[in-house]
Subunit: 391 residues, 3 copies
Amino acid sequence: MKKTLIALAVLAAAGTASAQSSVTLFGVVDATLAHGSGSVANKTALVPSGYNSSRLGFRGTEDLGGGLSASFWLEAGLNNDNGTGAATNTNNRSTGGGVFTTYARGSTLPSGAVCSATAFTPDGAAGCNVSNTTNGNQGLTFNRRSTVSLAGGWGEIRLGRDYTPQFWTMTIFDPFGTNGVGTYIGLNTGITGSTAVRASNSMGYFLPGNLGGFYGQAQYYLGELASNTANVSADDGKGYGVRLGYAGGPINVALAFSKTNNTVGGDIKQNNVGGQYDFGVAQLMGQYEWDTGPVGGVSHKGKGWLLGGLVPVGVGQIRVAYSQYKVDVTGDPTVKQWALGYVHNLSKRTALYATYAHVTDSGGQSFALNGATTSVNGSSSGYDFGLRHAF
Amino acid sequence: MKKTLIALAVLAAAGTASAQSSVTLFGVVDATLAHGSGSVANKTALVPSGYNSSRLGFRGTEDLGGGLSASFWLEAGLNNDNGTGAATNTNNRSTGGGVFTTYARGSTLPSGAVCSATAFTPDGAAGCNVSNTTNGNQGLTFNRRSTVSLAGGWGEIRLGRDYTPQFWTMTIFDPFGTNGVGTYIGLNTGITGSTAVRASNSMGYFLPGNLGGFYGQAQYYLGELASNTANVSADDGKGYGVRLGYAGGPINVALAFSKTNNTVGGDIKQNNVGGQYDFGVAQLMGQYEWDTGPVGGVSHKGKGWLLGGLVPVGVGQIRVAYSQYKVDVTGDPTVKQWALGYVHNLSKRTALYATYAHVTDSGGQSFALNGATTSVNGSSSGYDFGLRHAF
Amino acid sequence: MKKTLIALAVLAAAGTASAQSSVTLFGVVDATLAHGSGSVANKTALVPSGYNSSRLGFRGTEDLGGGLSASFWLEAGLNNDNGTGAATNTNNRSTGGGVFTTYARGSTLPSGAVCSATAFTPDGAAGCNVSNTTNGNQGLTFNRRSTVSLAGGWGEIRLGRDYTPQFWTMTIFDPFGTNGVGTYIGLNTGITGSTAVRASNSMGYFLPGNLGGFYGQAQYYLGELASNTANVSADDGKGYGVRLGYAGGPINVALAFSKTNNTVGGDIKQNNVGGQYDFGVAQLMGQYEWDTGPVGGVSHKGKGWLLGGLVPVGVGQIRVAYSQYKVDVTGDPTVKQWALGYVHNLSKRTALYATYAHVTDSGGQSFALNGATTSVNGSSSGYDFGLRHAF
């Protein structure tokens, strides 16, 4: 005998008020046959999240009276191709984008040991590279979001692990929603590290929803290093983001900027602006991003943009986007991507989808799609074919 | 104040149709006092899953109309003796049964490093042994099953991590359901590695249920290695399984075969046939298995069989089985096992149970039960005494 | 569309009998801005569990008829500041309090390798220190509690990972409930290792609830080492605890004692007595603890006590406590702590809270609060400011 949770869609939609409390179990299971080809190696895999991110979550709200409410949100990423969960980051520091710390041979490492190795660092010298990231024990990991909130007529205060403000611009104004082989290329080749999507130890404030279409949020997050941390600043991993926007009628536009403190290679700054306009027969959208971040332990600039659209076709939707991202290191390594896809909705919750994408590398880049490997200044193509089910 | 999920047993049993969607939370918590004794060492432990596998799961189905439905299934294994979760495998390769890759000193390893170690390999030469398995980050791990499906009158397509077809023969035609000290010995001493029970990255097809008692399934799974993988084939971990059967009246019979690509020690093949007949006063069952798999990096053959039965006694059930497994390496190492048990049902969901088993090793084997250690060609006995609660 | 679990508070409170079964999803998300200051380093962090331990759990009960019932309880700790889960311990052995095993150079380690390192042990000699703890794979980890129970008029039998009896005295008679910066100092500086709070592999018995106010429990747990374990006793990690108490009217008193087998540094014994009296205008409570445990591989004695109270103020509550803990190694290292806090209840489930605490070290101690570092015989202060939401 099994327990069945009753679908209270009607009751939930009606927004039952006054001390009615509820816990909602929700999720997405999305599986994709993903193929990538490149001049060096191809790869075929079953992967999660080709259309929407696979997840399992629990959330709830309590009406406290007087317009006040408390709520929680626990959401875990799922790799449903093999059953593993998704990892998180506990101190907002990155291994991606060259964000690590190099110690000279003979110097004392954060662990207290003396650097004795002869590893090659980005500049060719001998020394020890120490990852700046701690992942903690993972256990029952709600990496996507784990927050507690207090909300009222003045807005919402939210504490915990949450999305960074600038990520919302990136994902909302991407026809592919930053999922699958067609994802905006700035997400995959950007130089802004671990806070490009989410931040741990965050305190956020959200404007209330009744400002005539204007919306906004501010987020401050801690790196939690001790004040006597050696070799790097005690402020590393600390940062903030701000986002302001307007949505009304067919228009939605937003602007965001952010900064994460980082000693080796300099602070990480990610800023973007985006917008969309719904013409009815099609929805056009675009975004522009300008960043500062460490590459090989040195501060560099990155720039990216996207132009795309969504075209409804019966129960389906055609998705198309062009995007590129360029970094100002020698040669100006650049990736340009075309993506075309179709989503066939079997219901609001279930869809079949297919996406094709092609990237062209230049200036020393060798980025390839879906796990393939390509030569420097080469190209790569890939496709997704999958099934998304939400609950 | 707590939320309580209402038991909708009646509603669920009635099979409510048309757009009625539901999410079901289900599980088993089974704890066993397990003792094993052998000539070298004994062990007493509290372990999970002596009768049924401890688990926590979420599953649901959506009626899409026109006979079509979508569904998901997320099921995690639990070690409720200490609270840890169960692990999974991301690429269908094994550490068990000697499935690893040996690289000569001086050769380049998959990691890009050069093998400098002087480890002893199975044949006594110097070199590096590299595990062929990746476990990924575990986090919120649904290792038992994590799938999304689309089903219709034509059958079911299922994507994700799932049981392999041949495992069903093994567990259904084992009176002990491949759990606890009485488990069919071929599961514990077989040479077929990580795909003996489940496969990640799988795409499965199931025949519809209206074929007059005939049933069947086919599964194809990916190893997800890049096409330029060194030292082993890019197809390692890729494989398939097929199962066909008939169930009608007192009879249930099934045949399954499978193959997983493996370079070092050769491909893994696991095939079995099994059946059961319900005489009313007792249910008789048996199975036969013939395998090919790597042992110490060399391809070998393994054969196993089981004969057993279930006898209802009031609210309880007596379980008995004899099984053995033999590998064709020098000496023909063999394990033979007798097992006898009793399950006392306090309800459909809750049971007390006890199992006793005894193994005899020969031909160089030294397998022992419940964590004990025994000498070569020795013997071992063990018992389980436990409580199973399902929800 | 989402599924909503209906709140059946009334139905659950009424104690619906006879075959009515239910699964309850419950939890706490508590986030605290925590600051600690010390003479060497300060630290500011967002942390979980400043007032109540953050958690997510599933539990349920089945009425078996005739006064008998079966139940399960799966409860996971959450680090909702960054989304990670909490870890558990699989064999009841500790890394804290100096509980490890030292092997001389040249001796064979439990892993089968020979100790070749020249690490410094607590007594300055060369050798290998091997942690006595195994954490297992963590996966979906229900570290706080994972049990299955059978209960009747005779009491309750409970199997799995559960709290140790003596922990209940420690947490119930602490005004801060062993959470946050004001936690009874004996929890943070005690010498009783991993079984101070919970034990894995446990078998527990609880007296029934109808003994005129008297209550009690006994717990036995296994370390699960093989009988031929080298260097340490095969009984390491095995132990027991007993607790007896009386609660009636304004009074609640309890006495507990426990022992965990440990070879290097001697057995761990934790004993305590505590009580509280509700005067209406305030609730007074206190506890006294006397322990034996290993420090640097040598057996030592530890003693701690607490005196505190809770004062209701409108919808809020003032919390105050003084506690200290002393170990009998050279110098008698001692930590003394004052803590003062206020909890403001927005509802039964949601509260804002603030706590301030100050510790004074002497006799060689250098304990500091909330991740700060202080000098030997120094002092430290810290505060929590947080939001707790239960569901």
